[in-house]
Every structure is written in C-alpha cells, then in structure tokens.
Amino acid sequence: MDKTYLSCLAEFGIGGAHPGGLQLTKKLLTDERFDENTVVLDVGCGTGQTAAYLAKEFECQVIAIDNNPLMVEKAKERFVNLQKEINIEVADVQRLSFEKGSIDVILSESVLSFTDPTISIPEITRVLKENGRLFAIEMVLELPLNAEGRREISEFYGLGQIWTVEEWRRAFLASGLAVESIEVPDLEANSHDSETATDFSLSESIDEAFYDILSKHFVLTENYKDHLGVRIFKCMK
C-alpha cells in the first residue's frame, strides 16, 4: 500500500479529518434548510462522519464518494446503523458519474486541495443544478513560501498546488460559480477540549511507517502554521 498522508488518514480511520472537524461542519450547515428533494453530495467523504450527520439531521438525500477504498469501507461500516440509506461509492471528484445539473449541494471538506482544482471545480460545477451550491473548506496559502517549503509541503501531502485565497476565488469564478462568501473559520474554539480531541482507533497491525507520517504531519503543521490557513468558500452556480 502507498504510504502517503491520505492513506495514513484512512489507515488510522480518523473521523472528521479536515480543519475544524465535525464541529465546523455543523456550524457550516446550521442555517441550511434541506428537504427530502434536496440532493447533497459529500465529495471526499472519508470515514463518512459528515454524511452520517447529514442523514441523521436533515431530510435530504445523501450521496458520498471518496477515492480511497479503505475510507469507503469504513464509511459503509458507520452507515450500517443509520435509518436512512446513503449512496456511497469509490469515485474521483475529477471524474464524476452524476448527470449534469443533478446535485443541489456539494460539500468539499479539505478535498479540492488534494485534487487538481482546475479539473475538479469545473466537474463539480457541471453536476450542480442551476442555483446549486458548493461549500468548500480548503487550505490556503497565507504567506509566500520559499521553494524549499513549497516542495516539502507539496511532496508530503501530495499537493499539485497551494493556492492563495485569490487563486481559489479566480478558479471558482472561471468555472462559472459565483463566490458568495469567503470566511476564516474559528478553529481554536474546541481545539483544547479533551472530549472533542481526535480519537484514533489504533490497531496493532498498523505499519510503523504510518506513525512516522503522522509525526511528520505534526512537525509540518507546527513549522508552517503561519503560511498555511483555512477558508470556507461558499459558492453558487
């Protein structure tokens, strides 16, 4: 198996592996009113924490995809006990099988950053209905990085690009989305609460290399905390 950052998240089965975790997801969706006809697609669903939350708290139809088969497997396990059915499959957000104009709301929680957004954003736009909306929580470049820093981060996380807010904004506009708002999430609020601290489902069989990846992630997070930030982009087609 590949020993990458994303495969590491899958191996540890980390739920809510995006900035702000489930808390931020809940806050993001607070004012949304979905009904039984609303089709919500969670791209890069990971272990399915957000999709399960949507299914439990909203009337909407939920679709979830992830390109990592292990993530999809873990999400399916999570969905077993839900009352509502969630359509889930292994799929790439850069090549969606959904029809043009078929989705009302798309959630991307630190997912587009790991794709080629010049492909994934137009693809998302294609499947959104007119007036359909995209909520994206993504990594942004806050301060310029030198070549060494850029290389280190890109290689470790497997990123093709590290975009500034303005670069994201231009990409959304270029694919025909209107950018409604760009917010800085409050990530400090719950970060020191033990109850919301990340739980790891450790198993004896996890390869040591994954612990190294997790450690390196720690180091990079600390070293580049001023350079890398997060924004919530709300867009409408």
């Binding site: 990530l187 990340t198 739980d199 790891f200 190294d212 390196k216 992630h217 070293n223």
Partner: protein
C-alpha cells in the same frame, strides 16, 4: 494516590495524542497505546525538533514502535496534556 490518579488519567486518554512532561523536564509526544499499573506506553511522535529534515530524539528511552512503544513510569510524570489535533 497520585500514581493511582495518573493511571486513571492515562487510561481515560487511551487512543488520544498527548504530551507528557516528565519530572526530569523531558517532553514526550505520542498516542497513548497502553497503560498498566507501572507505566504508560506511548506510540511516540517526538516531532518539532528538527526543521526540514525529520528526526527522532528518544533520549535514554531508546526503543520504539515494537510492542507497546515507549514506556514512561507513571511516577515520573509531571504533567499530561491532550494535544489538539489538526488534519487537512
């Protein structure tokens, strides 16, 4: 009594990433893997020391990874803090 409390605290945080400071002033970061009545075992993550190149420093504790990982005597623990975790 203090040792008993530390045992309970370590047990409660099993599976979480913590920073343990021992009474000799050393800091140990890792995921609590196992606790017994003498020691807490961390899957170590002693990051943050080296910029650029990534290195480990386990001091006198020596080994890593196999079995239960790094053992720290409960009586040697000064403070234990749950680490905030952040994922992209």
């Amino acid at each position: 009594m203090a040792k008993e409390n530390m045992y309970q605290m370590c047990n409660r945080h099993r599976g979480k990433a913590v920073m343990i400071r021992t009474k000799d002033g050393k800091e140990h970061r890792g995921i609590i893997h196992h606790v017994d009545n003498r020691q807490v075992y961390l899957q170590p993550m002693n990051g943050g020391r080296n910029l650029g190149g990534f290195g480990y420093g386990y001091g006198g504790y020596g080994y890593r990874g196999r079995g239960f990982g790094l053992g720290i005597a409960l009586g040697a623990i000064a403070t234990l803090a749950v680490l905030p975790f952040f994922f992209w």
